[in-house]
Each structure stands twice: as C-alpha cells, then as structure tokens.
Amino acid sequence: MYGWIWRHLPGNTWIRALLSAVLVLGVIYLLFQYVFPWAEPLLPFNDVTVDEGMGAVRGVTGAAL
C-alpha cells in the first residue's frame, strides 16, 4: 500500500519525500478536523449530566409513551 503510493509519486526521492510528508500532514489534519470529532462522542467521557437530556425524557413521559 505505502510502496504503491511511493512508486506513483512523481519526481526524485526528495520530491517524493516532501510529497509524502504533505500527504501525511493532510491525513492528520483530516483526522483531527473531521474524523476524531465525530468519533469522540462515542466514548463515555461526554456523559457528565444526570439526565441525558431531561427535557426529552420528561417530554416522553408527558406524552404517556
């Protein structure tokens, strides 16, 4: 996989190294900006309230569901 990318990058070794670094940084940026913020709420550290949205809970109770 990585060998394939390396072989398909243009230029000599230095340019390829530079392009690889840019690719790696780009991937890290995408991860930190989009993927991790999406994945992080799936972990339990966000559960700090006692009601998980009490309005919703009480709304459901009020509607006699």
Partner: protein, 263 residues
C-alpha cells in the same frame, strides 16, 4: 509471491491502525484540551466584553420582578420547575438568609452567561457557564441544566461539566469538601455558594439530584441551591458525582471580589 504481498499488506494495515489509535488518544487527551481552553477563553472574553458594554443582565429587576410576581402568590418556590421560562419568584423571601437579587432575563441556549470560580481547584481556575447541557455546549464550558433555576434564584441552579477531556474542568471534583466556596458572577453580582458535603456518588438516571430541593442533599426546605454534576469514575460513565451547595452571600461587582476569592 502472493503470500509475500498478503503479509506485507497485513503488516501495513496493522501499522496504520496502530498509528490511528495513537493519534486518536493524542486527540482525546491533548487536543480536546487545547481546543476547549481556547473556546473557554473566548467565551469568557465574549462575556467580559458584553459586560464592559454595559449590557449587564441585572437592570431587568423591574420587568422581571413584575411579570414573575403575578404567579408568586399561589405556589411559591416549592413547585418544581419543568419549563425553563417559569422562574421562581424573586421576591419570595421567607426565611432566606441571602438577599434576593433581581431575576435576570432568560438565558440563550448555548450562550455564556456567567463565570464560575472554585478556589479549591486553584485560584486561576475559572470557567464560563453556558446555557444547556448539549454535547457541543459542554465543549465550550460548563453547562447549566436549562430546566433548573437561574443563577442566584430560588430553586436549584444546576451545572454539569467534564471531568476528563475538553480541558478537564472538573478534574479535581472529588477534592471538594463541605464549606468550599463556589463563586459565580453574572457581570453585576457575585454569588458565593457554600458546598454542603463531600461529593455524592449516584447513578446517571438519578435526576432527583437536580430537583429544586434535592432530597438526598440534606436541605430540608426551599432555598437557593447549586448542584454540580460530573462523571464517575474518572474515565467512565457508569456513575455521576454530585455536590450540593447553598447560596451564602451575594454582593454587587462594584464592591470588588467576594471574600472567598481574595484568599
């Protein structure tokens, strides 16, 4: 040949997944804190520039008092507040040690309205309090349960905060003890709450802890209370830690910082 390709691809996958996990841990432990610190600072800046411009919520005593006063005769503060727009009457003052501050206007969802100081967490510890407890709101500061009383009002002003990640605002929560001060300001008044007892561990479904008079807190009548909630254990979500406090003193900001912050 094909075995070689298989093994190589599998190894590369393992290395990739490992790198991803390390990056994700770095994100959760470190980057959320960096982002949250920036967001909390900007929330506090936003509040302070609002207060500097003079749009302080306090002046609304006349309008807030008169509109709320109409309902005060019937039920008083003992009634649980299900709707955020139903405020406890500000002038109902039976047997209350603290003087009644005027009712501030309704808070806007997701917007900061106060700054909290807890000397036990360090004298530089201060966090913005935002309206609502949505996930996105809690990334920018502490969250006020929208269904509970407003700051300094009769009822239970309840606030949730992260114990870990997003700046670790309530990291030292278990160190809180009876008598510790929780100081808040809304730009016009300092509110000093005193914690009643050491943290109480409960289940996430225990919504009674933010009732106007929380049954297990030891408070035995209507009053001006404060509840803080966070997660327990530190990195888990099976339980919650709670502390309760009562309003001990208020003073206008013109009189300077309250006793508890002068340390």
């Amino acid at each position: 040949m094909s075995v070689r390709v298989l093994v190589r691809t599998f190894s590369e996958l393992c290395v990739t997944v490992g790198t991803l996990i390390v990056l994700f841990v770095a994100y959760v432990l470190f980057w959320t804190g960096v982002k949250a610190d920036g967001a909390m600072d900007s929330q506090i800046d936003q509040l302070q520039s609002q207060w500097a411009q003079g749009s302080v919520p306090a002046g609304g005593g006349a309008s807030g008092g008169s509109s709320d006063g109409s309902s005060s005769g019937s039920s008083g503060g003992a009634q649980p507040e299900d709707r955020p727009d139903q405020k406890p009457p500000p002038e109902a003052d039976q047997g209350d040690s603290a003087e009644a501050p005027p009712a501030p206007p309704a808070y806007q969802d997701g917007k900061p309205f106060a700054v909290m100081y807890i000397p036990r967490f360090g004298f530089t510890w201060n966090k913005p309090v935002l309206e609502g407890t949505k996930t996105d709101t809690l990334k920018k500061g502490l969250g006020h349960y929208a269904s509970t009383a407003q700051l300094g009002q009769r009822g239970n002003f309840s606030v949730a905060g992260h114990r870990r990640t997003y700046g670790d605002p309530f990291k030292d929560f278990p160190k809180l003890r009876a008598g510790d001060a929780v100081v808040l300001t809304d730009g016009s008044t300092w509110f000093t709450y005193r914690i009643a007892d050491k943290p109480y561990k409960t289940l996430p479904s225990d919504v009674e802890v933010i009732d106007p008079v929380p049954r297990k807190s030891g408070f035995d009548g209507p009053g001006r209370y404060l509840t803080l909630t966070t997660c327990e254990p530190e990195w888990g979500h099976s339980h919650r830690l709670i502390v309760w406090a009562h309003l001990d003193a208020t003073q206008p900001v013109e009189e300077g910082k309250p006793e508890a912050l002068r340390g």
